[in-house]
Subunit: 336 residues, 4 copies
């Protein structure tokens, strides 16, 4: 499998390192508009053949099977479409696209041309998220009540996208993966504290059937780094704290018991129940190693990857609706 | 000063202990509908003269100057009104009343009769909140950007009020005290996961002038106890973690620098700035000791207390609007 | 059962509250040399009959069955001996006595007179220590390798005893209870930083058969409060952190696998093994409630209590040896 | 400056990366006895010219000015001596040598030949240790009382050295740097739990003039990773927790006030004093970058480096004495 990488910014070198380390994968070339980034990559990965400022060199290269796109989201659609039109599988940084319309078009073309799309929802491939997914899927948590995620820090302010497009893809992709169902509606609040009009703090609520509630807090203006997710079910509750050096996932045998009160028939007796806590050993393999392997495997096995175009679409749909809600002052956006 | 205490449930004994320990204060009597609670109090405080299941005995007792009301919120208005009508000052557990209308009426009667109302917003009297208040008031934080508070645990489910009326009075009263300005609008999301229709998880957004944003997460269904507040300003940022045994308040010399980009005039350059962290020594006096002293002092000095009827009103106004917003599916409730 | 309490300082009121709350126990009287302490107790426990500055009133009172002694350790022997001579069971604050010789004499007299001695090794009765004891006793930890305990804070400096006699009784009693075997030898290091010659920091090493090692760090001069114990065995390892509000005990399924290396026969291959962590739910009953109940039960059932005179003796023996070692500059004191 | 690197195990690649990134430094060659390690390095650093299993190729290479030695400590002396004899400066991994005698000989030869020795005491170059050093040197901590360091984890068991030679060089070098005075005596306790006779847990006490006490706990058999150092002085106290992602250094304005008690003239009144805590912003530059720069600078400026041969000697002296003490069952080893 021969690949080309477009975009050598913050994340690009990590992708090059991981794809380059796979057996049977050869990185033929990389491109970036900035000569100094190409020089930087050249020093680190001298074995790569092509270093070019013109992405088209890679997009049209006949030896290249797949294109890895690690550029700003505003360019994902046109680069992705060009790659697909040239018969190449595509791997894109999160978020997939800037709009659901773009996502739909890419998926449609890929399907028609029997090409694969994969989106880099890295967290899905962490041992932590995988261990929680198992709990959800085997019913250990019971019926799910809510998903609450906080991802805040003093951030590198982006100039082109707001904090929702920057940070929330992580939480939304984890939420989509764990809950595995479509939200009915989205509402969001966000504020831009500086004159650039770009929201630097936002809260997103996602409504599901059966009173399942999702909530995400993303924030570039917090003095401390918090990455904490609560997932509560009728049987057990999970705290996933990504800042913990070990024991990132804690499973609490806690919950609520609902009894009928025989004397006061109109009243429910709700009592909480507490038990042991367990922190499972989790796989510490670098997630990006699994991400890159999954893309290659999905292509060679001719199957959709775990985070395919549709997964990318679902994340963009929530981000898009959240931004619409903010524009409309918190209005609840129904999804069909 | 002679006082009577109505309501000897969870919080009542703490009030009795603290008021009883004040110089020049005598607790003449206590009342509770439940005989077993009276027995419990009697064993602990044998010196109190009157133990009665009939609150009227205290409300009409001619030697009593002030009534402490620690009953469910649904009874605050009628007990408070009776006390005021009988010429007694009143001290009420939080929240002040079940509606803003009730709050207005109590304030109006108290003003007319020159009696004092004080609401037990206990956290306002903690060393932690007092130390943050100083930072805000002396301008050390700079212009305020947001207040974010999380108060979650596996809770004792209330049968009469939802999680907003139970837990949010703490956060709302702290927010009201620190920000010291009226919100323009309120929006809230809440879910009742059990058949009693009582919300056990809720998120409240409060909108202020100049893009100042407040957000509160209250939750009875969390496996861990979190009580963490972020307050960020243009100059410094505060983290108040009430679960820390010491160093509850941390002040971060962190922020954002906004520069004009000379080459790209349409673009702001926003960079974050980091410096030292400082955890001030805070007064560890039991807050309730100061609460009870403040009530007695306000009466004897004929002044409003720090958490008077108007403070109680402002908190109820936000709680009421949050509940309205939930009923209307997240609709933004404008306050005038 | 009628009891008398001698000593109403820091810990006395807690003992009075807990013994007083037991069914079938009546506190007839309390004594303290300081009139102001008696007044303080009188206000809190008005139902007690006798308040006296003269301990002999209680020691000789014919209605009293047992004496609770919560005075400085230097007085334990004479007060305890008087009580035993007057036919009364005795309960003593930790440490049991100031010397092993005193301990032996008290035990000898109690045995002869068929009276009970119990020492207030409170921590033994906590849910945390009980849950660890179960793990040790049922073999879940495997062969024990070491016990390491740190108990430091910015302390109330004692004027009569050093930090070993003040803080180490907690750790030594826990160690004695969990390891359940006699040490072969003791060595200790300690320093007095102030001119009173009283050690304010000390390290104690205890040597057992089979390379089991104990180590205790006690310190009155630390800026933070640490109370952390590691107990490692061949199969599992425990961390007991008493400063954690919940999850005080964590059991790690971690250890070391020893293989014979076939190629290099003289070499052992030692590899570590990691697995899940589990924090068992622990009984949160106030330990002192169980302590007081145990004393009463031991008397009425005519049996030794869990922390009887012999347990007190074993703790004093280690404290005494540690102090001897410090006097001899770290010399290893052999115990027989 | 041309350098050669001998030893490409765990730490070697980090040294190659950091020395290779320096301006005016060229890594001419690397050697390791294991061909697979050479292949690994070759893939990562293809620009290096010489890859050899024979260290002598580098030791005798006329273009090489300095040799970086990252091999097991047992080989440090002979490799270092060969390098010096061939006129090359030497940089050695910690610990410097296996004995003080070896250290003395290397220093003597280097001095005679006007060559530089530097030992990789990496922690000295961290922002954390540098910030504490400033506090000590400018007198902010006041007279020092004790240094207590804990460095435990579930470790990769070494086959050739015990836990003291493996982990304690970090703590001893930090202690030596911060306290900046020679210890009078050393005592240590250590246990080998496996049949290889290599201690896997050890406690080291170091005695200084004026009751200053040092204590180090190193342990390969702990279920959790702890790297925590307390340094207390008469005026302020420091906690350095290397496991904290931020705020690694906390300075407590706490201490002890000693008053003369006028009534009881023979008694000191010792009271503790508490104030604010401050966590200074610390330089987050990778320490090894500064380490490598310091070696090059010391050579070009013809000066001793911050962690020169003498610093290496002082660390080896304490490690050697600690091991002697263990062999003699805790005997206090006096240093002259």
């Amino acid at each position: 499998m021969n690949i080309g990488v477009i975009g050598c910014g913050y994340w690009g070198p990590n992708l090059i390192r991981n794809f380059g380390a796979l057996d049977d994968v050869r990185i033929i070339g990389v491109s970036d508009r900035r000569a100094e980034r190409l020089d930087f990559i050249k020093r680190q990965f001298p074995a790569i053949e092509i270093f070019t400022q013109d992405a088209n060199v890679l997009l049209k290269h006949t030896d290249i099977d797949a294109i890895v796109i690690a550029t700003p989201v505003s360019t994902h659609f046109s680069l992705g479409m060009d790659a697909l039109q040239n018969g190449k599988h595509i791997f894109l940084e999160k978020p997939f696209t800037a709009t659901t319309e773009q996502a739909e078009k890419l998926i449609e073309v890929a399907d028609r041309k029997k090409l694969k799309i994969m989106v880099d929802h890295t967290f899905i491939y962490t041992g932590a998220v995988q261990s929680i997914k198992k709990l959800v899927d085997n019913g250990e948590l019971g019926e799910l009540y809510y998903f609450d995620s906080v991802r805040v820090n003093l951030g590198l302010f982006q100039h082109d996208v707001n904090v929702i497009w920057d940070l929330a893809p992580h939480d939304v992709s984890i939420m989509d993966y764990l809950l595995n169902r479509p939200p009915k509606a989205i509402a969001a609040t966000g504020v831009a504290h500086f004159d650039n009009g770009i929201e630097n703090i936002a809260y997103i609520s996602t409504y599901y059937e059966n009173n399942l509630l999702g909530h995400i807090h993303v924030n570039w203006l917090a003095p401390v780094k918090i990455r904490k997710t609560l997932l509560s079910g009728a049987k057990k509750m999970v705290v996933y704290d990504d800042m913990e050096p070990s024991e990132k996932v804690k499973i609490y045998d806690k919950g609520v018991d609902v009894h009928e009160d025989k004397e006061q028939i109109y009243n429910l007796l709700i009592q909480y129940r507490t038990g042991d806590m367990m922190a499972p050993q989790i796989d510490l393999t670098e997630a990006l190693k699994k991400v890159s392997q999954e893309f290659i495997d999905a292509i060679s096995e001719d199957r959709q990857s775990l985070t395919d175009g549709m997964a990318g679409y679902r994340v963009v749909q929530i981000l898009e609706a959240a931004n619409q809600s903010i524009r409309k002052n918190g209005y609840v956006v129904e999804l069909n």
